[in-house]
């Protein structure tokens, strides 16, 4: 078995493989037989999540949520899903170089099973990474926390090889000179980035954002490396790989996805090296909610807040709400209520007493923010 490609040199010029920068049609495990042992530098896998949906879900405005109910996401049992997971992980490890690494993305429906299977197969977990979504779908029924993140696992094929690629210094430099954390913030893939079919509908139900793949590729590959995506879908991995000067190999079962991905990748312009670091930058100002002050004991439950002229007062409750005269609600709602207004900025309206002086609670929020500024 041969691994002809070298990592740092422009391998394409030396000995291009027939499968390089192509999409292989077929089932993941069977299709990977076309690749030699130890032939790829990195694997990004976005396997089916095995969502177990009940009936139809409607938004509060009665519109129907377009759920991921595709055939490829259906499994008969956890055992069936585990067998599927073992099979593709083993096939992937065969084609992965010993110095390569594997990324898998999932949600709580499947990621625990994938992680445990990885460990059972003696993959070596390097990190779990949290993709925090800036704009996740809400929980419409108010029965759970808003499911606002997905989880990635980054693993080496075994515990022994420590020679995997990790561009620590580049990531740190791009991250304002502090080391990159395990929680990342990105928007979901929408707008013009989202691939549409001929009817203007989304071409793939679970297209991942290019920014996410860009950070992964920038972190764990070098220019010229070969990246395998065994569940190629809409081809985000291929598009980003081409743009960042990496090679790709995709495996995909459905012709419609192959066609869409092929067109997409053909339109990608490779970027010059100088532009790349921009992609790993951070964004977004931390929002601080009132209950953070209560939970962190900056405002104790039972504290009495007033407006600047002490005309109104309210008591802070342990759940992070205010109560006054039989009414209760958020700092904003109750501020509006006591004044008989429709709206109110509770942060500037409500005051606490500090050394005899009244100060808006916004002062405390500013303190928290100052402590959080280090974070993205």
């Amino acid at each position: 078995m041969s691994s002809v490609l070298t990592k740092t040199k422009p391998s394409r010029a030396i000995a291009p493989q027939s499968w390089l920068d192509t999409i292989i049609k077929g089932d993941c495990v069977a299709a990977l037989e076309a690749l030699p042992d130890h032939s790829v530098d990195m694997i990004f896998a976005d396997p089916p999540y095995n969502l177990q949906l009940g009936g139809a879900l409607h938004r509060p405005d009665q519109s129907l949520v377009d759920a991921v109910d595709d055939e490829w996401d259906q499994f008969a049992s956890f055992e069936a899903y585990d067998a599927f997971t073992r099979a593709w992980l083993l096939a992937c490890r065969r084609v992965l170089k010993p110095t390569g690494t594997l990324w898998v993305i999932g949600s709580y429906h499947n990621i625990f099973r994938v992680g445990a299977t990885l460990q059972d197969l003696h993959f070596w977990i390097l990190n779990d990474i949290v993709w925090r979504k800036t704009n996740p779908m809400p929980n419409f029924k108010g029965r759970r926390f808003q499911n606002a993140h997905e989880t990635l696992i980054w693993a080496a094929p075994n515990a022994k090889h420590k020679g995997y690629t990790f561009n620590y210094d580049a990531l740190k430099a791009a991250n304002d000179d502090v080391q990159m954390r395990s929680d990342w913030l990105f928007p979901i893939c929408s707008g013009s980035e989202r691939l549409k079919d001929e009817n203007g509908q989304k071409a793939h139900p679970t297209q991942k954002p290019e920014a996410l793949l860009a950070r992964i590729l920038m972190a764990s590959t070098k220019p010229g490396d070969i990246v395998l995506d065994p569940f190629f879908g809409s081809g985000t991995t291929g598009a980003v790989a081409k743009r960042l000067g990496r090679h790709f190999v995709g495996v995909e079962r459905e012709q419609a996805y192959i066609d869409a991905a092929t067109r997409r990748i053909a339109a990608v312009e490779p970027l010059g090296k100088a532009t790349l670091s921009v992609l790993t930058g951070k964004k977004a100002e931390p929002r601080v909610a009132f209950n953070v002050l209560v939970e962190s004991d900056m405002i104790k439950p039972g504290t009495v807040l007033t407006d600047a002229r002490r005309r109104h007062s309210a008591i802070v409750r342990a759940d992070g709400t205010l109560a006054s005269g039989g009414e209760a609600g958020s700092i904003h709602r109750l501020g509006a209520r006591v004044q008989g207004l429709d709206a109110c900025n509770g942060w500037t309206f409500w005051h606490y007493e500090d050394e005899g002086a009244l100060k808006p609670i916004d002062v405390l929020r500013a303190k928290v923010r100052a402590g959080l500024e280090k974070l993205a």
Copy 2:
């Protein structure tokens, strides 16, 4: 060490259990035999993750260990850890009420195994929650991302029971009126909150911050509920439970931890009852039928109701139903019918005219409810 808070239901206050607000010494599974079936409302578990796997996971010079023996050790360790996990999860489920929920915290070393085991045992995962640390330990060797979070799993004992406690409205109000997400931001436990032993060393290696437990308890329990912590350690769960007017039961093997936790909890001052009431939303309001408004003459039979834009209209009949275009039915059914939808909240859809302005009939329901409150 008992707190005498009563719950909304009288039964528990009448016959307090001997184990209530105590720490049971012993191994988790054996000690839980002291508790009856279905006796606790919530469980928070911070299980050990390096007990079985410590050597394999944390030894710095893996490459020097014989590969075959090393793999065998790992495999044996994972199996042992899984058996341990199954055992304590089953013991916990027996003592958990069917309407209760279970929280487990862990890192990538163990959380995938715990999550998969939960699913194997048919626990029903409600959310995975990410605790983002404001001040995590850096990665010193620069070979991985900074491990800046831990993962919690929130689960019901099975898929059927949907009656678990989730204080959605309180969380939302405390979070500046947007629903609480699955990613939480807290500092690690340090400074004066961190328990020290007589030598000034940290009393427990993995003490959790009280703010984290406070959010968990505020989200998934009510005042007076019983919270079990099968790996009690330094007693954060007990301390926060006492402060927030919840009961606790702890299980702990090491006498040193029991002593430290006992002293810690004894020093906790419970919050006053007034600060502990939990904000509830419309779901908790008493039900008012539409015909009450008709019978009390707040809406006269023959009144014409419309939607907010006067696109649809219907006439109120004396029996408390609406009629429109030959159709008749409840305010909800007819609201759905005229819009061609499956469902509709008639209280917010239908409007009546008051001094030239359209107001939702929900305004009238609120008046009825206000009147009912005086009677109570």
